[in-house]
Amino acid sequence: MKLLAKVHGVLGACVLALCATVALAQAPVEVPFFFPVAVGGPITKIIDGYAADFEKENPGIKLRPIYAGSYQDTIAKALTAVKSGEPPVTSILLSTDMFTLIDEDAIVPFDDLIKTAEDRAWLSSFYPAFMENSQTGGKTWGIPFQRSTIVMYYNKEAFKEAGLDPNRPPGTWQEMADYASKLTKRDGSGNVTQWGVQIPSSGFPYWLFQGLVIENGVNLMNSAGTEVYYDKPEVIGALQYWMDLVNKQKVHPPGIVEWGTTPKDFFERKVAMMWTTTGNLTNVKQNAKFDFGVAMLPANKQRGSPTGGGNFYIFKKSTPAQREAAFKFIKWATTPARAAQWGIDTGYVAVRADAWETPAMKQYVAGFPAAAVARDQLPFAKAELSTHDNQRVTKALNDGLQAALTGAKPADQAMKDAQREADRLLRSYK
């Protein structure tokens, strides 16, 4: 009997405890949040700090930041979870993944969450260039967070040695080619010891190429993501300019230029001008042992650069309370002060104009004017290439570009082949 009573007592306690945990579990809203790390710096620490601060201000919400690898790993994990299991409520993914996520029916638009005038004012505070990759079909699917553009870094010492004004970077295509030929140095046997300029072409050449295309007056796709324009004369012309730098002027290294080693080439003075992401700013600042400058990309018909980087998305497999909580966090993480601090800490471009008016950012720019170049270029920036079946359509262009740059195909044939392949892939989305 005694034993039985004991068992009863234990059982009772268990039931009580169970009730208590159930009651507790109902209180906070769980928000799992996937994020990738794509640049150097203590990103994980910053994000964990955000989560802690946010929870302190919002006790009803339990934000769970989960580091999920590269952008590629993160979307793979999120989409796999959508198909089987529990996806995150919110995640940072490439802005160009928008159509993929819509086609998989994985995300919800922000329009249903934006209710107050304050929310609408918040939405309109982002740079329009960043919103181009975040909206389609009249709806907003992503909120800009860690965004970037392409800029040109140049070695001021090399400029001086070549008799160029170190404070006047090339402003046009013609100038860039002229400067590059002055900056290209050859040794006695004709081997190049310092190249004039280099534009990386490994992995995702389309992104850097898109800079040339926009400068030549067009873009690569429509905003509905159903058409691409790889074989437009302006696009072929942009590729021809790039190829001429390699083959005619011989001021750009031949073959495929590796993205990952390009900053190192620059530090080693193997190249005087390089095109790469603004996200490399902190890296260059720390590692370049010479005076360097940052410039907007040169113009042909106009200035221009594609945007890049990641947006916040909210996943469909979630409760309304979770969506509200995630939305609250996204608004919290993109206030002017936080957008500014995030930009300073990481090198990403602060995503809204008023972030640049904050005291912290003003002080930072005053000490390091190069940080503002990306901002000044934003009015000329356009959406990054993104379509339905995005990665495949993009691969068609990448393959064409690499074929042209390795001399396997002439410019017009490479782009026509890429266009044919892209048309085939996109036919079912028209």
Partner: protein, 291 residues
């Protein structure tokens, strides 16, 4: 009665392994075949039975064929060389020589390193202008070359990494086999006055055949399995010159999200590897002497 007990006993012993095999090998293979006969589910389009449509698409896919051809050359270029090197190194470090332990360690080191780290190291070896390979070839008076950045040399450059990585691993198997070989054989051969070369080709090499078979099967599987360095070094570029079969499956499955087409490609890989393994066992078994 005793017989049934024995049967039961045998089956119980086999159960854990066969359950794991069925769950993680056989079921996925069959499920994969099943998926490859359906269209890829998209939000608005549930999967529907399309029969061999994915396989038909595969025949028209130029990148599939290129990946297959690339992988063929990759296998042909890496397997014989890494096995020959492994054998050479094993015989060499099996001798009594000073610093033998250190030499063995040195040969084995590449195997211990993670492939991603290896790929990053080699990425800098191959860097144009100031990479290690460039510096050496410059010092020797050869011209410059962008090894990973031209279609003609990119695949070869990856093969070198693979051989470097694999040879040390295979060496360990050969070394173990050599160590277990009876020293009487060498003594007897020495008394008979056989030359070292004769001894190697007539005694050592045939006795190593079981190891060679094992290593060969592994090497073939690895030739299709090792793609980590592709991800880091070239991502299949330039213009698909280093697109290997498994990497292509990964791209289709997890970048393009075309899971049923990826399933069809996986079936091809499975069939290919299965055939090669059967051929190896059937033909080489005959020439293999087990001690």
């Amino acid at each position: 009665m005793a017989r049934t007990r024995e049967w039961l006993y045998a089956w119980l012993l086999l159960l854990p392994a066969s359950a794991l095999l069925a769950l993680f090998t056989h079921y996925p293979a069959v499920a994969n075949l099943w998926h490859s006969l359906y269209s890829t589910p998209k939000a608005a389009r549930p999967p529907k039975f399309i029969g061999l449509e994915n396989y038909r698409a595969l025949i028209d896919d130029p990148i599939f064929w290129q990946a297959l051809v690339n992988n063929f050359w990759y296998a042909l270029g890496t397997i014989p060389i890494s096995i020959a090197l492994a054998l050479l190194m094993a015989v060499w470090v099996n001798e009594r020589l000073p610093g033998r332990g250190f030499l063995r360690l040195a040969y084995f080191t590449p195997t211990v390193l993670p492939m991603i780290a290896v790929a990053n190291i080699w990425l800098f070896f191959y860097t144009p202008e100031y990479g290690l390979v460039e510096q050496v070839s410059n010092a020797l008076g050869f011209g410059r070359h962008n090894w990973l950045g031209s279609k003609s040399t990119a695949l070869g450059a990856l093969m070198v990494v693979t051989v470097w990585k694999e040879a040390g691993f295979f060496m360990i198997f050969y070394l173990a086999a050599l160590q277990s070989m009876s020293p009487h054989l060498a003594e007897a051969a020495a008394i008979e006055g056989a030359s070292r070369r004769y001894f190697f080709w007539r005694i050592t090499f045939p006795l190593l055949m079981p190891t060679t078979l094992f290593v060969l099967v592994n090497a073939v599987i690895n030739a299709f399995r090792l793609v980590d360095h592709v991800v880091v070094m070239t991502r299949g570029g330039p213009d698909n010159a280093t697109e290997l079969f498994l990497y292509y499956i990964f791209e289709i499955g997890f970048r393009f999200w075309d899971s049923s087409y990826a399933a069809a490609l996986t079936m091809v890989l499975l069939a290919l590897l299965g055939t090669v393994a059967i051929l190896q066992f059937v033909f080489l078994e005959r020439r293999t002497h087990y001690q």
